[in-house]
Amino acid sequence: MQRLFMRWSVVLSVALFCVGNAGHLHAKVITLVNDVVHNGVGSPFEIPEKVHGDKLVITSTSHKAVIIRKGSTWDLSDLSSTYKTIEFAGNARLVCEPGSRLHGTGGVLRFVDEARFIVGKE
């Protein structure tokens, strides 16, 4: 199990547990057990090196979400050079609140299983 490092743009006293390589052959996997709140500019996830392929999987069994707050930008270009695809799987959710922004430079934001991409407030 490889521990991931997080940049503390994650706020509001939520705990994040990151578990790597949970069965995906070519993917890094993060299992959300709490909401991850991104407040700022950059990425809520900092991955030090490309080890398991070109995909980062964010999954949840309990509808937990990555929340991009008002005024915040999730800069996906930080990740696209290392992980081309960020995949929300299971019941994971991405919530982009009004006033937030996603910026990319060619990456793929993929939703599979029962994952949800919510624009607005959850």
């Binding site: 982009c96 937030s100 990319g104 934001l109 939703f111 299983d113 624009v119």
Partner: protein, 785 residues
């Protein structure tokens, strides 16, 4: 601030049987202004300065409710009662139609004893030496009236106790000046300012717009005065004297002089004998003028070569009161948090100064990158301000704008943005939902002076869904294009090269794109003012920089089954705007377009104010909204020369129009139909989605062509005839011309909605303006609910 002001509600007026609100006249004794000149009957207190208050029904029925408050400032010569009846009628109607949130309107009295009106400023002029009252109208409004109203009429505040996000100003002419004056001098107190034909611009900007003259290469600082006041000098007796009764312009000028440059060192004509000032013969006080006097005792100005001669010190004093100058002192970010609206008529006789003033004021705001709305309508200075013109009552524009702002107060910005290059893939049973009035915009990165591109692709496969509004959660919008206007593009020319490409692929056996209740999907057309409580009331405007839109529907469904008027909860909209190319590919064997709902093709539009949108489910053919006509650029240029600033003449040539409705029970692709060209043009795509599919359902469509220059309604009525035992049904196409001759005179030919529906029409089509803008409106008698 503790004020011990004694107030009383005096009378109930203008309540109608069907109206929800009521209007009261209230008042108190002011420390800063003398009692009102016009007195109500009965007069409760000879010391009171009065104001009128419109109270929505909720004020009485819900004692716990607090309210946004709009201050409606009257123009020259008006009092607190001038707009009371119309304000109540307009508010009651708009509240009934859910077009605005409940709000209170307060109308103060600006009248003065001797020089007509106050221009809403603090003046040291003592009107009546027997009284201690002065003319401190700014202090009266800011320090007395607003606190009094806040406390008595339950002014809404934020959680932090801030009333500013729920307080706004509006007014016409001098009232518009007051609106901008207070708004810019006290920006923390107000969230919106509306200047309708605002007389704010006598000085700097109007004079700068004057034709170049010898000695005045940058404009003649006496241009406005010379043009407007000198002709009225001939009305005095003997001619040549500047007297109050010379005319309306002169009366207004005296009010401004009393407000801006009174002579306070003593009272009486004996102090007014030099060339820098003069006296109003009928009043016991003196006024200083911004031009020199040839005979100050007899109030005769100096005129050289047909122009007044500048009295620079006094002109400098006047410019301290010019909102155009105030703009230089305010942080644009502060202004960008406000709802700022200006309008003016295209009448180049009685509206010329305010027309140019609003134009320049708006241009200056735009040059500061401050959002603002400027509406040029066909009409004059007082158009649509009084009965029986309620159908085009100008102030409804302001109230709708403010309503959106009030709804936004305390809320975060309402737009989520995607920029740069990105692919969003929805697979399996995943769902992307844009609901609850959320708005997702595909734009480019906004960096001044730098061009940027965005290439965004949505892939929907398997059983995944993209939901823009649902049956359960109303609202939500997805739009493609940059939401800044041409003025910004002119200001930041690098942005002209910005490019947005958008691709939507639907390719899955159960993949769905759904525009649900009050949902909005727009390509090149986007939402402004998306903060009203009802998403259907969102205003639309052209977006920029959309280079291509690719819609690839190979397998799945496009559900757009909200057949309803825009007023109904079920209303929704698909809007196709300007793009260099549309490309649509559809596999008829495996892809279904189901339902059918509101669809609009909108060619190039200038910024569209919420007023312009069709919110009521019926096209309101009257009103200021449809008074918008292009002003030939040459008329403007001939008079002023090319306008300066960042708006150019083309701005005045834009037609404005908005949504229409298409509905059909089922739109299935017909393999016999000619394939859509690839890439399709905007018009071909629109036709494909709209007219052909409707036609293929066995119904006829109403004519939408051959209608240049008119707003024509065509509607279809079925007729069943039984002859010799054989029953046949035929379709009759009826036509009705709305506003054929006078786009401002709706009452002569109102839109025949009731008549059409009563006759059982199955379709209505509209076309208007110039043949390029087409609005299709088809009602389905058997809507999918």
């Amino acid at each position: 601030m503790s004020l011990r002001i004694k107030g009383i509600i005096l009378l109930v007026s203008t309540a109608s049987l069907c109206s929800a609100g009521r209007t009261v006249t209230d008042g108190f004794q002011s420390k800063f202004v003398r009692p009102s000149v016009d007195r109500p009957t009965p007069d409760p207190n000879p010391c009171f300065r009065f104001f009128d208050v419109y109270l929505p029904d909720e004020f009485d029925t819900n004692p716990e409710m607090t309210f946004p408050i709009v201050y409606h400032l009257t123009g020259l010569g008006g009092t607190n009662t001038q707009y009371s009846m119309c304000d109540q009628m307009a508010m009651d109607e708009m509240l009934a139609n859910k077009e605005v949130v409940p709000m209170i309107i307060v109308a103060p009295d600006p009248s003065t004893l001797n020089y007509s009106s106050s221009f809403w400023t603090d003046s040291n002029l003592v009107q009546d030496p027997t009284e201690s009252f002065n003319n401190m109208f700014e202090k009266y409004i800011i320090d007395e009236l607003i606190p009094f109203v806040d406390a008595k009429y339950r002014q809404k505040i934020t959680a932090d106790g801030d009333a500013g996000p729920f307080r706004a100003l509006m007014g016409q002419s001098m009232g518009g000046y007051g609106s901008l004056f207070f708004g810019l001098r006290h920006p923390e107190m107000f969230c919106g300012y509306a200047g309708d034909s605002a007389t704010a611009f006598w000085l700097l900007n109007t004079n700068l717009a004057s034709p170049p003259e010898p000695g005045f290469p940058d404009g003649n600082p006496m241009f406005s005065f010379s043009k407007l006041l000198i002709p009225e000098l001939s009305n005095s007796s003997p001619p040549g004297r500047l007297e109050f009764g010379n005319g309306d312009i002169t009366a207004g000028f005296f009010s401004q002089a009393g407000a801006f440059s009174p002579i306070v060192q003593g009272i009486g004509p004996s102090n007014c004998t030099d060339e820098t000032n003069a006296c109003l013969a009928s009043a016991p006080f003196c006024l200083a003028y911004p031009f020199l006097m040839a005979d100050p005792v007899n109030n005769v100005p100096q005129i050289v070569n047909g122009r007044f001669v500048v009295n620079q010190p006094i002109l400098d004093v006047w410019q301290r009161f010019d909102p155009f100058v105030f703009l230089d002192t305010i942080d644009p970010a502060t202004l960008n948090s406000k709802a700022i609206y200006l309008d003016a008529g295209d009448d180049l006789v009685n509206e010329i100064v305010d027309n140019v003033g609003a134009h320049y004021f708006s241009a200056k705001l735009s040059s500061m990158d401050v959002n603002n709305e400027f509406l040029l309508f066909c009409g004059g200075h007082t158009s649509c301000t009084a009965p029986p013109m309620l159908y085009c009552y100008r102030f409804t524009t302001n109230l709708k704008l403010f309503s959106g702002k009030f709804s936004d107060a305390g809320m975060p910005p309402a737009k989520t943005v995607i920029t740069g290059d990105m692919t969003i893939e929805l697979a399996d049973s995943s769902v992307m939902s844009i609901t609850d009035k959320a708005l997702l915009a595909i734009e480019t990165v906004d960096v001044f002076g730098v061009s940027s591109t965005s290439n965004v692709t949505f892939n929907i496969t398997d059983s995944a869904r993209l939901e823009i509004g649902t049956d359960d959660i109303l609202g939500g919008g997805l739009q493609v294009g940059n939401a800044f206007g041409k003025a910004n593009l002119i200001f930041d020319s690098a942005r002209v090269d910005d490019s947005i490409t958008f691709t939507l692929n639907i390719n899955g056996p159960s993949a769905v794109l759904q525009i649900g209740k009050q949902g909005y999907l727009g390509f090149g057309i986007g939402v402004i003012g998306n903060n009203t409580d009802v998403a259907n009331y969102w205003g639309l405007t052209s977006l920029t920089n959309v280079d291509s839109v690719v819609l690839s529907f190979n397998e799945g469904r496009f559900e757009h089954n909200q057949i309803a008027s825009a007023l109904a909860d079920r209303g929704s909209l698909l809007a196709l705007g300007v793009s260099n190319a549309y490309e649509m590919m559809l596999n008829p064997e495996s892809f279904v377009i189901s339902g059918g709902a509101n669809l609009a093709m909108i060619t190039e539009a200038n910024r569209i104010h919420p007023l312009v949108q069709d919110t009521a489910g019926v096209v309101d053919p009257g009103g200021i909204r449809n008074c918008i006509v292009p002003v030939p650029a040459h008329e403007f240029d001939d008079f002023y020369g090319p306008p300066k600033g960042f708006y150019n003449s083309e701005t005045f040539s834009q037609n404005l129009l908005t949504v229409g409705i298409l509905s059909s029970s089922l739109m299935l692709f017909d393999t016999d139909k000619e394939p859509l060209p690839n890439p399709a043009t905007q018009d071909q795509l629109f036709t494909f989605l709209a007219v052909q599919n409707y036609f293929d359902q066995g119904r006829k469509r109403a004519p939408i062509n051959e209608l240049d220059g008119q707003l024509v309604v065509g509607y279809i009525t079925p007729e069943t005839v039984t002859t010799a035992g054989v029953t046949t049904t035929t379709m009759h196409i009826n036509r009705f011309v709305v506003n054929q001759d006078d786009p401002c005179n709706a009452l002569t030919n109102p839109f025949p909605t009731d008549r059409i529906l009563e006759e059982g029409a199955v379709g209505i089509a509209l076309a208007t303006i110039d043949g390029e803008l087409q609005v299709v409106r088809l009602f389905d008698l058997n809507p999918v609910v």
